[in-house]
Amino acid sequence: MSYEELLTETALANEQFIVMTAENRALVRNLPAILGKRFIDTGITEQTMIGAAAGLALRGRIPVVHALTAFLTMRAFEFVRTDVGIANLPVKLSGFIPGLLSDGNGPTHQAIEDVSLMRGIPNMTVFAPADEDDLVKMLPTIWRSKEPAYTRINARKTGYVHEDYIPGKAEIISTGKDVTILTYGLLFEQALVAVDILKEEGLSVGLINMRSLKPADEQAILDAAKSNLMVTLEDHFLIGGLYTIVAETLLKYRQTADVLPFALKERWFRPALLPDVLQHEGFTGKQIAERILGYQTSHIQPDILKSQFAE
C-alpha cells in the first residue's frame, strides 16, 4: 500500500479527515477528485495552511497537511508552535523530502533541523519511518491519536518487511554486544547494509529502527547502551536529533556510553542526486561499517535507488 492509498482509505472511512496542502501535491495527486471539498490546497502559503488547519481542528476535523518539510517546519514554525502546539490540536504534519531526501535542491530545501524544531514544541509528537512499509504501518496509529504529530515522510521502497508499530516503541531489528546502531528514516536502508558488513567482519551487531523520536523509546536506548559501542545514524544536524535524544536519555538515567554519531555537523550537505549525496557525506552502508571498524574492507556497496521525486 502506498501513502496516497492509505490516506485515501483513511479519509474516505472517516469524515473528520481533511487533506490539505500548500501546493505540494506529489503525495496526494488523486485526492482532489476523490475528496472534493475535503481537499484544500491553500497555494504556496505554509503559514496560512497551518493556521487554517488549526481552525479546522477547532471544528472537530483532523487535518493532514502537506508541504516540503523545510517550509512546513521552518517557514510555518511559529504557526505550528503557536496555533497547533499551544492549543494541542490534532493536526497531522506530513513533511515531504526531509533530510537527505531533498537531494539536489540545495540548502534552502534541506530540512535537517526539523526533528530538533518539532520535538521542542510541547504536545508535538515526532515520527520518522524507515521506508514505505514502515510508513504505512505507523501512520494509522499516528493519525488516530489526538495529539499533534509531525511525520518525516519517507516513501522509499526497501523490500524490508517491518513489524507492526507499537506507539512510542522502537523496532528492534537485531541485538548485539559489540555495536548497536540506532537510526531512523532514510538511513535505515544503509544501516542494513552496514550491519551485514559488520557481521561478516565477525562483530555482534544490534540495529534499532527508532520510528518514534518523540516520545522516544527510552528502554531501547538504555538496552543499546549495554553494547560496547553505540552508533547514532541520522540525516539531521548533530544538534537536536537522535544523538541529543540519546544523550538526554542516558543522563536522565545516570548512565554513559561510548557513542559514535553519524550526522551533519554544523553544515549543510552538498546537493546532488541521492546516491552521490550519500557517498559524498559518508552515509553509505559500506562507509558507515568501515568507519565503525576503523579499516577498509573489500565488501561491495549495493546500488542505491535514486529518488522518485525532485520538487
Partner: protein
C-alpha cells in the same frame, strides 16, 4: 449599547493599574466589540459549545480588556474575575486565551487568527452551515504578511461567511501607521484582494448596524469592515497620544480617569509612559 460600552470602558480603566494593560487599543475597539456581541453575533452564555454559534476571533489581542469587559456585561464572565488581572490565580493577562469562556482562540502573535478564522469558515462552508465568523484585526497588525496571505486564500475559497474587521485607530504600537508603514488607501488594497469592503465610523453604533445588516456584503466575497476609530476613545487625556499605548496608572489616576470618562476634568497624568515594545 451606549450604556454597555460605558461600563466596558470602566472595566478597562480599572484593569490599567497594578501592572497595567494596553488601554489605548482596548478603548478604540470597545464599541466594535460591544456592537458585535449585542447585535450581530449569535453568541451567548448558553451556546458557547454549540457548533452552530457564530465565532469571533480577536487577532490583535492587545484589546483583550475590551473583550473581557464585554463578557462581564453579557454575563459570560464573573465581574470579580477582572480583579484577578495578572494574578497567578486566574488566566486574565495581556492576551486572550481559551481558559476564559467565550474566547475561541488565543492570540498575541500578530497575523495568526486570519488563517485560523479561515479554517473555521472553511469548515462551516463544507458542512453547509450558516454561522458567521468575525476576525478583528489591528491596523498595525496589517504590517504582517500573513494577513495578506490570508486575504488571498479567503478570496480563493469565496469565504463570504467571514468578516475581517480592522480597528483602524491609526496607531502601530508607538507610532502613527501613516508615519511608519502607511496603509492608505486601505479600502483599495482590500478591494484589490477581492474583498467587499465597507468603511465606517467604528464608534457609531448606527453606522455599525447599517454595515453589518448588509452581511454578506456580496456573494462569494470575503467581507471587510474598516472601522475608523480613535485610540484611547473616551479618555481625552490619553486619546491619540503615542506614549499612552500601554498604561500602568496609580490608584489615584484610575479614580480621576473614571471621573474623566463621565465628563469631568481631564486627568493630569504623572505615571510613567511606555514607549517600548
Amino acid at each position: 449599547m451606549q450604556k454597555i460600552a460605558l461600563n466596558v470602558r470602566e472595566h478597562i480603566i480599572r484593569m490599567a493599574t497594578d501592572g497595567g494593560c494596553f488601554i489605548g487599543a482596548s478603548l478604540s475597539a470597545v464599541d466594535l466589540i460591544v456592537y458585535l456581541y449585542t447585535d450581530f453575533l449569535n453568541v451567548n452564555a448558553d451556546n458557547l459549545d454549540d457548533p452552530d454559534r457564530d465565532y469571533l476571533f480577536l487577532s490583535k489581542g492587545h484589546d483583550v480588556p475590551a473583550l473581557y469587559g464585554t463578557f462581564v456585561e453579557l454575563g459570560l464572565l464573573e465581574k470579580e474575575r477582572l480583579n484577578n488581572h495578572l494574578s497567578l490565580a486566574d488566566h486574565i493577562y495581556w492576551h486572550p486565551n481559551t481558559h476564559i469562556p467565550g474566547v475561541e482562540f488565543h492570540s498575541g502573535s500578530l497575523g495568526h487568527l486570519p488563517s485560523v478564522a479561515i479554517g473555521v469558515a472553511m469548515d462551516i462552508k463544507i458542512r453547509g452551515g450558516n454561522n458567521k465568523v468575525v476576525c478583528i484585526l489591528g491596523d498595525g497588525e496589517l504590517n504582517e504578511g500573513t494577513c495578506w496571505e490570508a486575504m488571498l486564500v479567503a478570496n480563493a475559497y469565496k469565504l463570504d461567511n467571514l468578516v475581517f474587521v480592522v480597528d483602524r485607530n491609526q496607531f502601530q504600537a508607538n507610532v502613527r501607521t501613516e508615519e511608519l508603514i502607511p496603509l492608505e488607501p486601505l479600502q483599495d488594497k482590500f478591494e484589490a484582494f477581492g474583498a467587499a469592503v465597507k468603511r465606517i465610523d467604528g464608534h457609531d453604533f448606527e453606522a455599525l448596524k447599517d454595515a453589518f445588516d448588509a452581511y454578506p456584503f456580496q456573494k462569494d466575497k470575503v467581507n471587510v469592515v474598516i472601522a475608523d476609530t480613535i485610540r484611547g476613545k473616551g479618555l481625552p487625556s490619553i486619546q491619540e497620544r503615542a506614549d499612552r499605548w500601554f498604561c500602568n496608572f496609580s490608584a489615584e489616576e484610575i479614580d480621576q480617569l473614571l471621573l474623566e470618562l463621565h465628563g469631568h476634568a481631564i486627568t493630569e497624568l504623572t505615571s510613567e509612559t511606555l514607549i517600548v515594545r
